[in-house]
């Protein structure tokens, strides 16, 4: 089963062009959707999660026409939105049970087992009797994951899931996801490059509604290998370098600035080759096609 997205476009009433002719094929396994804030990630995710209507285009999940047969999608969907709230005065166990019913798990015993298992898996078991109103951001996020995992979904969409998690939680969560990816389509939207590089077998980079790159992370890294160089410079010198080279990223290091530059050949003696990472791929793609304009209003 794979998810096939073809020519998806969406313009909001305020004129924002959120998706521009997006075409993607997402196979089983983890798929990373990488892009800056406002790139159109959430719009795409919500469209896949049956919550939004594109202007044009089609989406198919296996035999299911996602845009038409929403009920069928929902039966096999696990969705964790970027931002969500919970009923504050209900315990985690109780609400998870309620969601399980809503997901069609009607056998009481099975449901109980599943709820317990998910609470264990998301490390919420000890807090299961507590009201959700008292949960921290990370706990709430894990609760959301538990909800998404109810009912053995075949399509899992997680929108910016690691945003509020501390490092340990993040690791746990990503582990969980990667296990799921073994027999589902898991789409992970994020602006954190490490999330993708650590987990995903395939990825796409999206900016301003357009897919800039669709690739396997390793292959993509392979493409830039040997073509990214770094140099430590003074901050004041940055504009000069930006004029002379294709600077793809800058970073502070010990009070000075490290720049990464894309170039087929070594741009100068001061430059050292970089052991290319996905981040370099990301910045190359972002810089290569478009200047560094930030942010489009809606996402």
């Amino acid at each position: 089963m794979q998810l096939v997205i073809e020519h998806l476009s969406k313009t909001y009433p305020n004129g924002t062009h959120a998706l521009k002719d997006v075409t993607l094929t997402i196979p089983q396994g983890m798929f990373g959707l990488l892009g800056p804030n406002g790139a159109g990630k959430s719009t795409l995710m919500r469209t896949l999660a049956t919550l939004q209507e594109p202007d044009t285009g089609s989406v198919r999940l296996g035999d299911i026409d996602v845009l038409r047969d929403k009920d069928a999608v929902r039966r096999t969907l696990g969705y964790l939105p970027q931002e969500f709230g919970v009923y504050p005065k209900v315990s985690a166990e109780e609400l998870l049970d309620h969601f399980a019913v809503l997901k069609g798990i009607i056998d009481r015993k099975q449901r109980r087992e599943l709820v317990q298992a998910l609470l264990q898996q998301t490390n919420l078991y000890d807090a299961r009797r507590k009201h959700l109103g008292g949960f921290s951001g990370g706990m709430r996020q894990r609760f959301g994951i538990a909800v998404a995992l109810l009912g053995n979904p075949k399509l899992i969409i997680v929108d910016e899931p690691t945003a509020g998690l501390d490092p340990a939680e993040r690791v746990r969560f990503l582990n969980l996801l990667s296990e799921l990816g073994e027999n589902s389509v898991v789409i992970l939207s994020t602006h954190i490059v490490e999330d993708v590089s650590e987990l995903c077998s395939r990825m796409a980079i999206i900016n301003q509604g357009e897919i800039l790159l669709e690739a396997e992370p390793l292959a993509a890294i392979e493409q830039v290998r040997g073509r990214v160089w770094k140099r430590l410079i003074d901050r004041e010198a940055l504009p000069v370098f930006e004029q002379e080279h294709r600077v793809i990223s800058t970073r502070l290091f010990a009070g000075r600035t490290v720049i990464h530059v894309a170039s087929d050949a070594q741009p100068g003696p001061e430059f050292e080759p970089v052991d290319a990472s996905l981040e370099d791929v990301y910045f190359t793609v972002m810089r290569g096609r478009l200047p560094t304009e930030e942010a489009v209003a809606t996402a």
Binding site: R46, A49, T50, L51, Q52, E53, R68, D71, R74, R75, L77, Y79, L80, P81, E83, F84, G85, V86, Y87, P88, K89, V90, H98, F99, V101, L102, K103, G104, I105, I106, D107, Q110, R111, E113, L114, A117, L118, Q120, Q121, N123, D126, A127, H131, G133, G134, F135, S136, M139, G144, V147, L149, G151, N152, D166, E169, R172, N175, L176, E179, L180
Partner: protein
């Protein structure tokens, strides 16, 4: 900084669409109101209104005040939002960490929001102004444009109310950081407003009532309640004195206090300050070691009916408990219940006296007073339910779940229904507790259940569906609330727009009235059909709601429409089709019942028909007609079928001096005529079914003095049901109707249109309400009947075997035949052509007074006041026979009838008496006005004053029957309860008179020219006769009355009039007092008496001198209330009171004597034997004085404060 925040807030407000939508709604309401008042809908609706201008300052003030109550909802949204927005969006930490001062933040937000809200409310005066300029309105209904009349109420009501409600909402939202609390605040304010209306049931409470209404509506209506039409049209409401000023000051202070509170309690903190115990800080268990690899058990899933059922129940549980467990729900319900409990103390007050808490009364009170709360609960929680997931931001998860869209919708509707059920159950408990607390233990639980969970629940369920639909379609929470409320308002307005048929009033029915006597009677059947009809419509609404249910992020209209189309699959199509067909089918059935089986006329059509009657047949008004001299009737009442068959004969005699060649017979329209014939040759020359008018030409003219017989056989069959409650005359238990359903002879001018405005519409000339007092031609008829004088009467009445049937007269024979019970009655003396028929399952209580049999026919269970009624009858017979003349009958019968009407009426020796006005009265305490006693005495007096003395069909004649019956009853009451007790009664009479004249539609007249105006012949009549008795003495007055009765009783035409009556009274009045006859009877006279100060000086011998500083004025008013001062030189009571002892409201009278009082300031000195406490002029309120509070003042010691005695 402050200005910046204000400006920011205003810009924000102006940018919101909802602001302009609210403005539009208020503008539209103002526009609509003035259009209705200005006669814009005169082509669709019946004519209303009198001489008061549509844009009179009082009307503008009242509307402004009322709409500012309504504006509560907008203020909750606009001002509440200004405080809440930052918390809702979570941006508050950003604001709170800027160096902005609390003063600027709170003050600026509040000021800005209030200004935005003011712009919205500006829509009201602007709408009214523009509306009143519309060219199609009737200019005669408008006075000159006065800017002050708009500006003043805006300044005095709109702005202070906004400051108050705004402060409260702002404070609640800022301190609790939740919008929910705002609704509770709104409800508490409303409770104050409602409380004041409850308090007003007893005029003793008016001061408190005016103050507790936070909106000032009550205060302005109390301040202007006695204003005549002339004053209403010309005077601006005096805002800086009286109750309004006090009210405004009080509530402005409250607003300041509230704002002060929020200022002092508000903290720039991330979490709300602990108003109550907060949820504990987040619990963060330690991250434990990574557990075993992912092992999520595989589960079976079900997406079929079983799953839907479980999903539905699970969601219902979630939603229901979510609402009910919330503290605000408890607050909302408690506020409502507290109000209900308070209202219960005022249960059924008439003249300040309460009734027994019988179940229907309690239910009516509970559900009536609580209805508003339920509407609020439904409107509000419908919004909450629709918005719940979105406000929790859980909507994305929810919307992507594999459940059909209709499951959450249906679950939310169910939860709403459950909430209503819970509230109704609480009401039930409240009702039972109320009854028990009042020492009443006849609990009729079945009745509670039927009314609350049967009838009312269905209504609320229908409203719940509508509210969910509106909230779903509108998709803006506050606008949704407002639209639901507008719907309620609009439903109330529909009839004024000419929309009267229940077929287009969502959720309506023909009406259901429960009566102890008749239960739900025949109403339930029609009610069920109406509810099925609206139920089908509600299903359509539900389908629409489902189609448009917001699921997902698409909220644009176009997208939603497309989504709805996509959702409109086979199942919704089928449901919609079935519902639509049912709706149409049921509508057809209802229409068949209301408009085919029964005749349906809108008020407007009714008006047109009446106009048509006059146009067609007025020319026959003076055609010579024979008069009824005898009626011999056989009436069969079928209570179960609600049918009546009436056959019988009239003897008609030509009492004119010319031969009569044709007889005009009128019958009600829906009569089925089986026979209508004369005892001699005749043919029908005109038959007008529509107007019920028929003319028969006699083959041989009827010569003067000759008689003929009219034979008739008529049927009145009830078919199906009507649009309105209607048909409450013939019912399963408690039938009561009078001879209006039988044939009458000749044109009846009394049926003509009265309103000049309405007459103009149909091209009819204005018509005097009644003929002039001396009009001899009009005096050929009594004011009761235009086709008979005194008639011989006999009737046989039959009914079901378990009922007793009654007609005037004496029972001759009673028998059973063919499973029916027959009663033959005959009258031994001639009576007015005015009689009634009753039938019910009666119990009878019998007694005697001399040779007069007294019988009370009552509903078993209503025994409470039988003794009072019998006692009153005896005392009345004592007094009336001693003072007015002998009683013409040998029995007095009082008969209970269901509460479909709330009056008692005197027929010859027969007094039908509504179950609601005396049978369940609870006269408690020595001060209580015993109105069962009073009503009985009044009705018994009619046996003299109406059934012996009857005035001609001219002005002043109702004085001869109603005023005199009031006087007679007053005298009997005074004998029974003492003079002191009369003061309270007369206070009500004064209030009713002054209020009544303020609402006069045409013209006020002096008592002797009264044109059947109740506030004159009852209320002013009581005051005038009591004052006259006080001046010339009871004995002397009664002697004159007895002479008059003797002279005119049972007279033939021309009938007596008030001029003749007064001539007897005048003869008995000394010259020095005749001025009083002019003041009381011949003119509209008002006094303005006040005591400016009273001082006391101890004298030798333990006596005290009291010096009063008085100011007196006397005015004559014209028919519109324009007043002219006249010279006063009247005998007026001066009274001095002792200090009140424990338990007394006021002290004993130490002195009460009449003194000559002139116009202007003067001093009067009297001596008393004990230390006085209070003193003043006219202390018992015998004169018509609009301000009675200033008549009596506390007496001050002359030596301690010598200045007090000086001129003020």
């Amino acid at each position: 900084m402050f200005a910046h925040i204000v400006g920011f807030e205003i810009r924000q407000g102006m940018r919101r669409i909802s602001t302009w939508l609210y403005f539009g709604i208020f503008f539209g309401l103002g526009f609509l109101l003035i259009n209705v008042a200005g006669g814009a809908f005169r082509d669709f609706a019946p004519t209303t209104g009198g001489n008061e201008f549509a844009n009179s300052p009082v009307a503008l003030a009242a509307w402004t005040a009322l709409l500012s109550v309504f504006g509560l909802m907008v203020t909750a949204a606009v001002v509440g939002n200004a405080a809440h927005r930052d918390f809702a969006t979570g941006i508050h930490p950003l604001f709170f960490t800027t160096p902005v001062r609390k003063r600027d933040y709170l003050g600026g937000r509040f000021t800005g929001a209030v200004l935005v809200n003011l712009i919205i409310f500006l829509g009201v005066p602007l709408g009214i102004m523009l509306g009143s300029m519309m060219p199609y309105l009737e200019r005669t209904r408008f006075g000159p444009f006065r800017l002050a009349a708009y500006a003043q109420p805006f300044l005095v009501f709109t702005i202070p109310n906004l400051l108050l409600t705004g402060a409260i909402f702002f404070a609640l939202a800022a301190l609790t950081r939740q919008m929910l609390s705002n609704y509770v605040g709104g409800v508490v304010l409303l409770v104050g407003y409602l409380l004041s209306s409850q308090l007003l049931r007893d005029i003793e409470n008016k001061r408190v009532a005016a103050l507790v209404d936070p909106f000032g509506v009550r205060a302005v209506s109390l301040d202007t309640r006695y204003w005549s039409v002339a004053e209403k049209n010309s005077r601006l409401v005096p805002f800086f004195e009286g109750l309004v000023a006090g009210n405004r000051l009080l509530w402005l202070a409250a607003a300041a206090l509230v704002f002060g509170l929020v200022y002092s309690r508000f903290r720039f903190a991330h979490h709300a300050p602990a108003l109550r115990r907060r949820a504990r800080a987040a619990i963060e268990p330690l991250v434990r070691a990574v557990p075993a690899p992912l092992a999520i058990p595989m589960v079976a899933r079900d997406f079929g009916a079983r799953a839907w059922w479980m999903q539905w129940t699970s969601t219902v549980r979630r939603e229901f408990w979510g609402i009910v467990r919330n503290v605000y729900f408890a607050a909302l319900v408690l506020a409502g219940l507290a109000f209900v409990v308070f209202s219960a103390t005022q249960l059924g007050k008439i003249y300040g006296t309460t009734t027994y808490p019988v179940t229907y009364q309690v239910l009516e009170l509970l559900s009536g007073t609580f209805a508003l709360f339920l509407l609020i609960i439904i409107t509000f929680y419908a919004g909450e339910l629709v918005w719940r997931e979105r406000e929790l931001r859980a909507n994305q998860i929810h919307d992507a779940l594999p459940i059909p869209t209709w499951v959450p919708f249906l679950a939310k509707l169910t939860a709403l229904a459950l909430v209503v059920l819970v509230v109704l159950a609480l009401l039930l408990m409240c009702g039972v507790v109320t009854q028990a607390a009042k020492g009443y233990f006849r609990f009729e639980l079945a009745q509670y259940v039927r009314e609350l969970f049967g009838i009312q629940f269905v209504d609320y369920l229908l409203l719940g569906v509508l509210a969910l639909t509106v909230h779903t379609l509108v998709n803006h929470k506050y606008v949704g609330h407002l639209i639901v409320v507008l719907f309620f308002v609009f439903t109330g307005f529909m009839s004024q727009l000419g929309l009267e048929h229940n077929l287009y009033k969502y959720g309506s029915d023909g009406g259901v009235v429960y009566s102890d006597m008749n239960g739900y009677g025949h109403f339930l059947r029609s009610w069920s059909w109406w509810k099925l009809y609206w139920g089908a419509f509600a299903v359509l609404l539900a389908v629409a709601t489902n189609l448009f249910w917001v699921r997902g992020q698409e909220t644009g209209a176009g997208r939603r429409l497309r989504l709805a189309q996509a959702r409109f699959g086979r199942t919704p199509q089928t449901i919609a089709a079935v519902a639509a067909i049912s709706f149409l089918g049921l509508g057809g059935w209802v229409f068949y019942n209301t408009n085919v089986q029964n005749e349906y006329r809108t008020s407007k059509q009714q008006e047109a028909a009446i106009a048509g009657y006059e146009k067609k047949y007025k020319r026959y008004e003076h055609a010579p007609q024979p008069r009824i001299t005898a009626a011999d009737l056989h009436v069969d009442i079928f209570p179960e079928r609600r049918d009546v068959l009436a056959r019988g004969t009239y003897r008609l005699q030509n009492k004119t001096r010319v031969p009569v060649d044709s007889v005009h017979v009128q019958l009600p329209r829906d009569t089925e005529i089986r026979r209508l014939a004369f005892s001699r040759g005749h043919r029908q020359v005109l038959e007008d079914q529509e107007l019920g008018y028929r003319i028969f030409a006699l083959d041989e003219p009827l010569q003067p003095g000759d008689s003929l017989v009219l034979l008739f056989d008529l049927a009145y069959l009830s078919r199906g049901f009507e649009n309105e409650t209607g048909g409450t005359q013939v019912v399963n238990n408690g039938t009561f109707f009078n001879n209006a359903f039988l044939p009458s002879v000749g044109y009846n001018a009394r049926q003509e249109l009265q309103e000049d405005d309405a007459r103009k519409k149909y091209g009819l000339k204005p018509r005097p309400r009644m003929a002039p007092v001396n009009d001899l031609r009009a005096r050929q008829n009594s004011y009761i009947s235009n086709d008979a004088d005194w008639i011989d009467f006999r009737a046989t009445v039959s009914t079901s075997p378990d009922q007793i049937a009654i007609a005037p007269g004496y029972l001759q024979r009673e028998w059973t035949q063919g499973g029916r019970r027959y009663f033959a009655y005959a009258m031994d003396a001639p009576i007015l052509n005015f009689y009634s028929f009753l039938s019910a399952r009666y119990a009878v209580k019998r007694d005697r007074w001399n040779d007069v049999a007294i019988e009370v026919y009552y509903h078993p269970g209503h025994e409470y006041n039988l003794e009072r009624m019998i006692g009153a009858t005896k005392k009345s017979l004592d007094y009336y026979t001693a003072n007015f003349g002998p009683y013409q009958h040998r029995q007095v019968r009082i008969l209970e009838f269901p509460r479909y009407a709330a009056f008692a009426q005197s027929f010859p020796n027969t007094i039908p008496y509504s179950e609601s006005i005396g049978f369940i009265a609870r006269v408690k305490g020595p001060d209580a006005i015993d109105y069962p006693f009073y009503v009985t005495a009044h009705e018994v007096a009619h046996q003299w004053w109406a059934h012996q003395v009857i005035g001609g069909n001219v002005q002043g004649s109702t004085m001869l029957s109603e005023t005199m019956s009031q006087y007679a009853a007053l005298m009997v009451m005074e004998k029974e309860f003492g003079r002191a007790n009369m003061k309270r009664f007369l206070k009500y009479e004064l209030d009713e008179y002054l209020t009544g004249r303020a609402f006069e539609q045409k013209k006020e007249l002096p008592l002797m020219l009264v044109e059947n105006q109740q506030y004159i012949h009852y209320n002013k009549g009581s005051l005038a006769m009591y004052a006259l008795r006080d001046l010339i003495g009871e004995e002397r007055l009664n002697q004159a009355l007895a002479r008059y009765v003797q002279a005119v009783k049972f007279q033939q035409p021309p009938y007596t009039n008030s001029v003749e009556f007064l001539s007897y009274v005048r003869a008995a009045t000394p010259d020095s007092l005749r001025y009083a006859l002019t003041d009381l009877f011949e003119t509209i006279t008002l006094w303005d008496n006040r005591t400016q100060a009273a001082s006391v000086t101890p004298l030798a011998g333990g006596r005290y001198a009291v010096e009063l500083n008085l100011q007196a004025r006397k005015m004559r008013a014209d028919s519109l209330g324009n007043e002219t001062p006249v010279q006063m030189n009247d005998l007026v009571d001066i009274g001095v009171f002792a200090p009140a002892r424990r338990g007394e409201k006021e002290g004993r009278l130490l002195y009460l004597r009449k003194h000559r009082v002139r116009s202007g300031n003067q001093r009067i000195r009297v001596e008393v034997g004990e230390r006085p406490a209070r003193a003043g002029i006219d202390p018992l309120h015998k004169l018509i004085d609009r301000i009675t509070d200033d008549n009596v003042v506390s007496v001050r010691d002359a030596r301690v404060t010598p200045a007090a005695a000086g001129p003020v």
